[in-house]
Symmetry: C2
Amino acid sequence: MTSTDTPHSAAETADPNVDPTLESDVFARGCNSRMALQNATGRWGALALAALNEGPYRFSALRRRVDGVSERMLSQTLQTLERDGLVHREVLETIPPKVEYSLTELGADVAEKITALIELLESQVPKIVASQTEYDARRQ
Amino acid sequence: MTSTDTPHSAAETADPNVDPTLESDVFARGCNSRMALQNATGRWGALALAALNEGPYRFSALRRRVDGVSERMLSQTLQTLERDGLVHREVLETIPPKVEYSLTELGADVAEKITALIELLESQVPKIVASQTEYDARRQ
DNA sequence: CGGCATCCCTATTGATACTG
DNA sequence: CAGTATCAATAGGGATGCCG
């Protein structure tokens, strides 16, 4: 693909390398679960899920919450998560139109795990930074 | 950077946008915890941690376990995880030389959360695939 | 407001070859 | 064995403009 922008290219199920009889080993390349993991833990996926774990968000509010995400990336991320059944998209027929995003049951379970990971990491930032500093010093 | 290969560019602490007084909000762009999250949940980071959660691995064994990872990516991933203090690297002075990778205490905590997420996703693959199929059908 | 399409640049990744 | 160096391919992502 040189100039064609495929929406959720990394999320495609129609991968010829996928063996349908072997569906649940993340360590196998091209496995469905590995793709789902990527979508849920990718750069923006994890943050979107963590944000939605706080409650439903409208598009622009979510964009404000997830600092640094572009319109385009947030849109793609949400589509992928919706496709995987983690996020529910509700269009409110108002003027101007509003779209509300929320977690599905499965999405809530996933978001909970991710939030746990985030909280752990946030609490350990000092230790992590110390490790980085030491590592960098060791190699000058 | 057009052709210069920076080792762990995404892991740098020396980001001018990082506010050292604000260390623990993943939602803030350039935050240390967001970077740590990226390193731990990135494409290969999560799988490497999950593999090491099964026990120590030598480089090539780990490469075999994490199907599809290139030498280069595994090397970089492990360096980043070591720098963040999640992975311990032990060089055995034998002939031929062996290097064993294992989890630190912090790494074990992180790996546990990631493994929980992976197990959840693996168990829900059927539901996820069904959702994808339905989603794709809805847009033809 | 929400968000898709296009253009275009850069970071990440993979293959391959080479070294301690 | 355990990597590093180099080069080429690709995916990620920002900016802009348009539409329901």
